[in-house]
Symmetry: C2
Subunit: 199 residues, 2 copies
């Protein structure tokens, strides 16, 4: 493949159905991959370095942050997670579209470090529906559900720098929208300026 891939950052509240939409969209596509994160947490049995994660110690992680080798990074349950710029760059240059499923704060870091990234927010059709879905999963406690709803509202307010919003009221349609966005982004005039000059 000669055409450079796109970095696709996907965010949205827990319960919006992000994963379902994404997996439906990439079904059968060979030009899309997930990014592999760097983490300081220990590998679990069966996990392979460079497959589930790139496993590093805290010192190396700190060095990566200092040398600006991460497109974004965050802390979660006393461990650190980040997206290695070099890995993403390599896949993009191979023509792969790279997916990044991260929160709004991480997306903001990516926008700053790679302005050409495509930022997509996936939202449920309504807060009521989000609540129904979260309750339907029956995995979260009442307080966890309330926390997620508060978090969702907060994300909505912070997400104003995203490029696209997909309302997931129907998985098939939402997946089609995601694929349309990817196709449209590959038609960006600025990406083809060189091509035009040579033709």
């Amino acid at each position: 493949m000669s055409e450079r891939g796109k970095l696709l950052v996907i965010s949205g509240p827990s319960g919006a159905g992000k994963s379902t939409v994404v997996f439906k969209a990439i079904e059968g596509r060979t030009d899309i991959c997930f990014s592999t994160s760097v983490t300081t947490r220990a590998p679990r049995p069966g996990e392979v370095d460079g497959r589930e994660y790139f496993f590093v110690d805290f010192e190396r992680f700190r060095e990566m942050v200092e040398k600006d080798e991460l497109l974004e990074h965050a802390e979660y349950v006393a461990n650190r997670y980040g997206t290695p710029r070099s890995y993403v760059e390599k896949r993009l240059s191979e023509g792969m579209n790279v997916l990044l499923d991260i929160e709004v704060q991480g997306a903001r870091q990516v926008r700053r470090r790679m302005p050409e990234a495509v930022l997509i927010f996936i939202a449920p059709p309504s807060m009521e529906e989000l609540e129904r879905r979260l309750r339907g999963r029956a995995t979260d406690s009442e307080s966890a559900i309330e926390g997620r709803l508060i978090r969702a509202r907060q994300e909505y307010q912070e997400a104003d720098f995203y490029d696209y919003l997909i309302i997931n009221d129907d998985v098939e349609k939402a997946a089609a929208k995601l694929n349309a966005i990817i196709e449209a982004e590959h038609c960006r005039f600025s990406d083809w300026a060189d091509w035009l000059r040579l033709h």
Copy 2:
């Protein structure tokens, strides 16, 4: 329909296959219409005011220009043609996507007057292919063909402000790209900011 339509400006050299791509893309879609132009030329037999064109005299046309009632206008064979802003606005507010097939200079005027318009340039896969297609039509003289090729190169240089480029090497694929662009543009985050605030 509650969602506002998009103004889609389509340009590209004669012989790029613009019309074929557009008609293939809108086949069966009821949410897209062509804009109706204002013209000073006399109606031909069978033409109906408001259907093929809005027919006006030179004085009214001049007034429309002065009052900024046209999104763009141009002269062609001693007559004037323009796109009435109010007509386009009406269709957009009805939820219709409005197509405008105009040249690069007109597109530049539209961009200035309606920055949210979506500008799409359709190009042939190569200049050699464009030449083949123009010769294949067998309707143009040698000098007309050469004129069109020179014009095409000039348009390429002036088109840097377009949003999208579709290379028409395959009509089906190019039409799918056009439809993907329309679908993606309807997911623009900025269009949904109000929706998010209310949900």
